[in-house]
């Protein structure tokens, strides 16, 4: 169903003050959307990618939403956190004869079983009141952030946990590494399909379905830029667990979905791993065009699942690149978790926001025959 709006809406995604100095920051954009009065019929005419009320997109870039100032002076006044190498050196200073069991295996044991860890190491949480993200609970609380454009009530405690870990910041090793693997291998090939779309600018009710695809991304000749117009086969042989439906609406070209209570998102990296994330109360806010969809995926990340994904995706060696200490960051997540308490009252999930960049693709759904074969084998 479509409607027309003459109001204007501005959403701020990621503003990066380092954009001049660090080239990757160029990926971060401010989307200012103004009203674009248009008749639905005309738009459909011009938008061949919207067919039969459907349009698909594939994920090409994914970054945790991080508000950064130069050198982290505002959000990390005490500096950035130590990683495994630095912490290990402090815990086990050189010069003292130690055993594998008392040093290396102690560290690994703590990493995989944080509840049994005896390490108590200092950790710097992000400071300040400004963060990207969305108001997840509809309230404005004392702990909430202001968006860079002044919107109150932003929920993003995850930002506090990772803001001062170099690896997640623009140009950090995980900032790049996650995307390298996401682009290179299909096991995190997140697809969304919008259906029941009459108008890609204003439509009061659309359906968003998530899938996983199996095909490579379509890139330009340089291999660095991803293009709309590719094809992705929807995998329902192995990826049924990743199929979810969200209700949404499009206002002035911005798709906003209702929160979904629970969703799994493929999140694998490195060699032959199978990690995923679990979000509670996840919703999308994406600027959609016939070529691209860009914006936020926000909700509450399950802490135990995030820890599991971190450890299985990355060895201690990989985490050392960008100074990610698994025991420290997981302790911070548990401390800062602000949603979905368990029976003991302990929060199991933490508010968070992720920047997504997607390009349009044509989705090829499996035929009913193929699906039947799959389910019988």
């Amino acid at each position: 169903m479509s409607f027309h709006s003459t109001s204007s809406l501005a959403i701020s995604l990621r503003v990066n003050p380092l954009s001049v100095r660090r080239s990757l920051a160029a990926m971060c954009v401010v989307l200012s959307l103004t009203a674009q009065p248009a008749k639905a019929g005309e738009l459909r005419e011009a938008t061949s990618t919207l067919r039969d009320g459907r349009i698909g997109y594939v994920l090409t870039h994914r970054y945790y939403s991080l508000y950064e100032t130069e050198g982290g002076k505002a959000e990390c006044p005490q500096g950035f956190n130590d990683g495994p190498r630095e912490q290990f050196k402090k815990l086990y200073p050189p010069g003292k004869k130690l055993s594998v069991i008392d040093a290396q295996l102690q560290w690994e044991g703590s990493q995989w079983h944080p509840s049994t860890s005896k390490y108590r190491l200092p950790f710097h949480e992000g400071q300040g009141r400004i963060s990207f993200g969305l108001n997840l609970d509809g309230k404005v609380g004392a702990e909430d952030f202001l968006s860079p454009t002044g919107e109150p009530g932003i929920d993003n405690e995850f930002y506090r946990a990772i803001a001062c870990i170099d690896s997640f910041r623009v140009g950090g090793s995980l900032y790049n590494f996650e995307n390298t693997f996401l682009q290179q291998y299909p096991d995190s090939r997140l697809l969304i399909e919008l259906t029941q779309v009459d108008d890609l600018v204003n439509d009061e009710e659309v359906i968003v379905t998530t899938y996983r695809g199996m095909n490579p991304l379509l890139s330009d000749a340089s291999g660095k830029h991803y293009l709309p117009g590719g094809t992705q086969r929807v995998d329902l042989r192995w990826s049924k667990d990743y199929v979810f439906k969200l209700k949404g609406k499009i206002v002035d070209g911005v798709l906003t979905t209702d929160p979904i209570d629970w969703i799994m998102v493929p999140w694998a990296m490195t060699a032959n791993v199978t990690a995923f994330q679990e979000f509670r109360g996840m919703r999308l806010k994406l600027k959609v065009t016939p070529e691209r969809a860009e914006g936020l995926m926000a909700g509450f990340i399950d802490v135990q699942r995030w820890h599991h994904a971190l450890n299985t995706n990355l060895s201690t060696h990989h985490m050392s690149y960008g100074r990610v200490s698994s025991p420290s960051v997981v302790a911070a997540l548990a401390r800062l978790a602000d949603g979905y308490p368990d029976q003991t009252g302990r929060n199991t999930a933490i508010s968070a926001s992720v920047d997504l960049k997607m390009v349009q693709v044509y989705l090829v759904h499996p035929t009913s025959k193929a699906d039947l074969i799959s389910s019988n084998r």
Binding site: P84, R85, F88, P94, K97, L98, S99, V100, I101, A103, Q104, L105, Q106, E108, G109, S110, W112, H113, T116, S117, Y185, P186, D187, M214, N215, P216, D235, L236, R237, W238, S239, K240, D241, Y242, V243, W262, M264, P266, T270, A271, N272, V273, T274, A275, F276, H308, N311, T312, N313, S315, T316, H317, S320, A370, I373, S374, S375, R377
Partner: protein, 454 residues
């Protein structure tokens, strides 16, 4: 949530395994060998070289690890000798060298675990077999330039417990410097290769694309024409193709030859064979009547085991549908001893499965227990008696001893937190589960290369 799980008895899926009565064995190219060396068939790795007693031969090729390389260099003397290393070498980032190894007092030298294959004093090089000197003045056989060993884990002819079959691309630095079994080249046309999967020796083309055959074809006759050829591409043979042994050709049209193996015309599945395909996928098996072609496959695992759909393919699972895991471990000494066997130090496994707590370990990674009197048609599987608290080999009837299933002489596990269809312990441990950790028992992986092992 939509679950994508299918449970079936492993023995009902011949695609992965060959029937116990099947006699398929990989043919190989004969090559000149020393008189004391022979070729013996094995269940998983195909034909391998063995010494006169039938013990499988291995090499230890130099492997670049994170902080340096270790292993044998081509055409040089062995580095696996009599030194007993008591400290780590610091080859695996981020841990520094110089830490005392577990159970250092019980540690054996490399040459005791990997006895060199010695040559007679008057032995002469032959074919790819050459001689390298050992420190004690004796001569050691080398194959393709690499010094050759046996493994003290192997007991009878056909055992390949010291490592998987050598392939140039096999493994990575995550695993540590592994030892590999060696064997003669498979007898396949130049257009094809054999790749070792976790269940057998699979035919692929030179680009790594899986080779298939169709049940619709007759012996030496292709019925794949017209519409079929839009999906399946014949594996073409050159005009000079030589028919021999299990290999023949059929002429599809004048001058167009197709390879035929054991009477089966061979094909590539075009959806897998795009320029950007990763290779090693086996999605063509989902097309009715089509199947991947192996030179030989392992026999099915014992009856309690099942096959389960997971989010990238299929894994071996226990009777309850819980994913089965294998434990991998190599230490950080200069001789890179493996630590994944019950006879090796258990401190590594205990650290990642329970931070040193044996009870937590059993809760997180319980053994797959075997019923009394259980046996396996496949020699890759056995029943082992384990002290569940220490993880060491035990005697039957000993307090705390349990009977567990072992694959290639190592116990297998499930993961306490897994639901059926879950693989949460895949990549659990150091270096994504390859170095001191757990990997799921992958049978099929359409997204990555898990089914081809480390």
């Amino acid at each position: 949530m939509i679950l994508a799980s299918v449970v079936s008895q492993a023995g009902e899926l011949p695609y992965f395994w060959q029937a116990p009565e099947a006699t398929d064995r990989e043919a190989f190219l004969a090559e000149p060998m020393p008189a004391a060396i022979q070729v013996v068939p094995t269940e998983l790795e195909g034909p391998v070289f063995a010494n006169a007693e039938g013990k499988t031969l291995y090499i230890w090729p130099l492997r670049g690890l994170r902080n340096g390389a270790v292993g044998d260099r081509r055409n040089t003397a062995s580095t696996c000798e009599g030194t007993i290393y008591r400290e780590t070498a610091g080859l695996m980032s981020p841990y520094p060298p110089g830490y005392l190894l577990p159970e250092a007092d019980l540690r054996r030298p490399c040459e005791a675990l990997w006895p060199p294959v010695l040559a007679a004093t008057d032995a002469k090089p032959i074919g790819k077999w050459t001689l390298v000197p050992r420190a004690n003045g004796l001569k050691q056989w080398a194959y393709d330039g690499f010094p050759v060993y046996t493994s003290d884990l192997d007991r009878t002819a056909g055992d390949v417990l010291g490592g998987r079959r050598y392939e140039e691309r096999r493994g990575g630095s995550e695993t540590g410097a592994l030892r590999f079994a060696i064997g003669p080249l498979p007898d396949v046309p130049a257009e094809l290769e054999v790749r070792s999967s976790n269940t057998g020796r699979m035919l692929v083309n030179r680009k790594g694309f899986t080779v298939y055959a169709s049940k619709s074809d007759a012996r030496g006759v292709s019925h794949c024409k017209a519409e079929c050829l839009k999906t399946w591409a014949p594996v073409l043979a050159p005009q000079l193709a030589r028919e021999h042994g299990e290999w023949s050709v059929l002429e599809r049209s004048p001058g167009i030859l197709q390879w035929v193996y054991r009477g089966q015309p061979l094909y590539i599945y075009l959806p897998e064979a795009g320029a950007e395909s990763r290779g090693g996928q086996v999605t063509g098996n989902d097309e009715p009547g089509w199947y991947s072609v192996f030179t030989q496959r392992a026999l099915p695992p014992p009856q309690p085991f099942t096959v389960h759909d997971v989010r990238m393919g299929q894994v071996l699972a226990d009777a309850n549908g819980k994913t089965v895991y294998l434990y991998h471990c190599n230490d950080d000494a200069l001789d890179q001893q493996s630590c994944n066997h019950p006879s090796s130090p258990q401190a590594y496994r205990m650290a990642v499965c329970g931070n040193g707590d044996a009870v937590l370990c059993l809760e997180m990674f319980p053994y797959v227990t075997a019923a009394a009197g259980a046996s396996s048609p496949s020699r890759l599987w056995s029943v082992m008696t384990i002290d569940e608290k220490t993880g060491r080999l035990a005697e039957v009837g000993q307090p705390g001893a349990i009977q567990v299933w072992a694959y290639r002489d190592r116990p297998v596990y499930t993961f306490g937190r897994d639901r059926p269809g879950g693989t949460d312990a895949d990549a659990w441990g150091e270096f994504n589960g390859y170095r001191n950790g757990f990997k799921a028992f992958w049978l099929r992986d359409d997204y990555r290369a898990n089914a081809f092992g480390p």
